[in-house]
Symmetry: C2
Subunit: 448 residues, 2 copies
């Protein structure tokens, strides 16, 4: 049994939904389908979720929202017409949405329900279309699917009792179409995940069903081993581990948001990223355990916008608790950090630049001076992090040499290096201006 | 004005003391001399300080200590005879020591005074010898020199008022001979520094006098750029900065204990390490500010006996305070750590193996499991750290490439890398068995 999730671009139009139906019919194991709301059809288009947010905003400020409502319904109309389904379906969806707007909800729940209606309507459309093709499909509301969430609107968390309920769906032979992005509290209140939460729904359903595979259909053939905006037509990654995916996702790879993978990760369900527009491409599979691949490096991630806070003090190393007290000061200011490479008597804390406003900066430096009495404190902005990622680096002598040589070849000075004993990744900190040069040089070293 | 400190081997015999006198006469700027107690004359010999500790132990348990006392006095007799000084001096020293043993001190102060008498007696011998050569020299008790310490026997700390008092010694034109290793509390109680504390006395006196140079005479021509037990006849370091010295000292270089340098470091007094047996050799000078040297690496340090504590948790990176809480657990158990290289979702804490007893290990791991709920925790023992040190690495592209290539050439896998933004040093963690191979390969890469 497989769970297939189709993202916004895969369900953006009737044409796309026809591809989705073919994909579902193509493999009888695809028994549970999770859908996003219709996304962009082209780069100028607006996502239905954004149209719904506009609608909610208009409603909230007491504006006449007829125009916003029409824009949403128009998207459904085109899709439904394109799939040659009865216009009755438009009326049903329209009534559902008007009902939400008029119902006696508190304003927060109402806005949540308006946002979530994008996924919900699309699930209804797709199930109706599948039935019209003679498939034994059924729309399944998340409440009936068993997706029970904590009462945290906009960032709801799955409750553990859900998984057992979801498992019961195995009894049926129907194909279920479940809207992503939302669920219900034990009291029956509709709540949504964070944005992009359809991936979370798919991951939860795959975990609950103990599915053999969680397929995540997007609009790329696979995950690339490096940012294609830096390297033209880079190699594709056929397989990587959760850990590798996580390190790459952190370093600027945006296929997934990492929370989405947690339920699948915990249940050890493999995840496959595939292309709705080219379903025969192998895609990229994410697994728990690494396989032998030959190349120790699976991908190169890079991201800008970092800074380092450097603190040095003679004999710092002998002061028990120095590092901990420094991190405490940052934590007090709500600043989270990424890495803490250190010498004997110095410590650099690497963090995202945007976290450190000028006010916070002077306050933090003042506290460090007053409480830790260092010899020197300074801040360096405009840093980029580059990570080379691969679980096999552990057993490959010479990987670090190859990587550092690539930096030297690109004439980029390495400001910081950080490699923990897991050796899933090695992090390099450099000045931002060198990042493209360094990434291309690393790509040539490991993938050409 | 220079302060010259002579270590145990430099004052171990009459022959050595004659060299010391020549060195003092050789440069009129050498106006304040600090001495250790007589050290070993050969590898089978016993240091006078150890003989004195035996004497103190015998006294403490109420044993007849005549034999231990004789052994100490015998060393002085030979030296005094070898310097052709009056045997009266032996009697004076003998009486001073017997007085300490019989005086109505508390036992702790008595043991401190017995230990300190080694330096004290040698200072008296050397000053008498210098006078016999027609030099206007004078023994100066640390109390009269102004060395006022906190009441922490065996680990006393300098009190700030000392420096002003010491500065007054500049008024005299005499050559002062000050015993190292001890001082007095404001109440007049004798207290010692930690073992090897004559270096501290020298450093304090140099700082107080605002000396132009603090000369530290030992039995090596200079500091080597790598452990001579690993590389045969390695290159000598002519100049290095305090920071570099500190990083090297940490990684197994034992010329100095690092605390000793603090007063000189704070007062920015350059320190020169020279050889009593070859005073014309240039020695190694330690300065505040780096000079351009050409080679970005000044030395390679290595040390065994480390371990890493590895903790991984999916999405650790999003948990504000995770690292700080982990360090808190270690701090609660009194465990200090060296480095914390990290991936996105994992953190390695590198620490000295001997700190983690089996009981502490299971307790710490239990706490980590209970309080931080990681996916995985494990400990890897038998690690060595290798550091390449040099303040100029910062401006040299390709240093990391050269270093990592040296590891690859030696077929040594790098388990951890840590380089903070100061770039005074890069730390590599490897398995202990590879350390000699890796150090030799690094030496060849940077110094041949």
């Amino acid at each position: 049994m497989k769970v297939a999730k189709f993202g916004g671009s895969s369900v953006a139009s009737a044409e796309q939904l026809k591809k989705v139906a073919c994909i579902i019919q193509d493999d009888p194991a695809r028994r549970v389908i999770v859908v996003s709301a219709p996304g962009k059809r082209n780069s100028e288009d607006v996502k239905v979720t954004d149209l719904l947010i506009n609608l909610g905003n208009a409603y909230q400020v007491g504006k006449d929202y007829q125009y916003e409502l029409e824009r949403v319904l128009h998207r459904y109309q085109i899709i439904i017409a394109g799939l040659q389904l009865s216009s009755e379906l438009v009326n049903t969806i329209s009534q559902d949405l008007v009902q939400v707007l008029e119902k006696d909800y508190d304003i927060e729940t109402k806005l949540e329900a308006i946002k979530a209606s994008g996924e919900d309507s699309l699930a209804k459309i797709l199930s109706t279309y599948l039935i019209s093709l003679g498939i034994d499909a059924r729309y399944l509301n998340p409440q009936d699917a068993g997706i029970i969430l904590s009462d945290q609107p906009g960032s709801a968390q799955i409750l553990p009792e859900s998984f057992e309920k979801i498992y019961k769906l195995r009894k049926s032979n129907q194909i279920f179409v479940i809207p992503g992005f939302f669920g219900y509290t034990p009291e029956g209140k509709l709540v949504t995940f964070s944005r992009g939460g359809s991936d979370i729904t798919g991951s939860i359903v795959a975990a609950g069903l103990k599915a053999e595979l969680y397929e995540n259909f997007t609009d790329v053939d696979s995950v690339y081993c490096v940012n294609p905006q830096i390297v033209d037509q880079p190699k594709e990654i056929t397989s990587l581990t959760y850990k590798e995916m996580r390190e790459l996702a952190y370093g600027g790879f945006s296929v997934f948001h990492a929370e989405a993978l947690i339920p699948a990760f915990k249940a050890k369900i493999p995840v496959c990223i595939k292309n709705t527009n080219n379903p025969n491409a192998l895609g990229t599979i994410i697994v728990s355990e690494k396989e032998v691949r030959g190349n120790p490096v699976v991908g190169i991630a890079s991201d800008k916008g970092f800074m380092s806070l450097y603190v040095s003090k003679y004999l710092m190393n002998r002061e028990v608790g120095f590092g901990r007290r420094l991190l405490n000061i940052l934590e007090d200011e709500g600043i989270s950090y990424e890495h803490t490479p250190s010498g004997i008597d110095d410590l650099s804390v690497v963090l995202r630049e945007k976290q450190m406003t000028p006010e916070k900066e002077s306050f933090v430096i003042e506290r460090i001076n007053n409480e830790l009495h260092p010899d020197l404190v300074y801040i360096e902005r405009g840093l980029a992090l580059i990570m080379i990622v691969g679980e096999e680096m552990h057993s490959h002598i010479g990987t670090a040499a190859k990587a550092t040589q690539a930096f030297a070849d690109a004439k980029v000075n390495i400001e910081m290096i950080n490699q923990g004993s897991s050796e899933v990744s090695v992090m390099f900190g450099i000045k931002e201006e060198g990042v493209e040069r360094a990434v291309r040089s690393l790509y040539n070293a490991f993938f050409r």
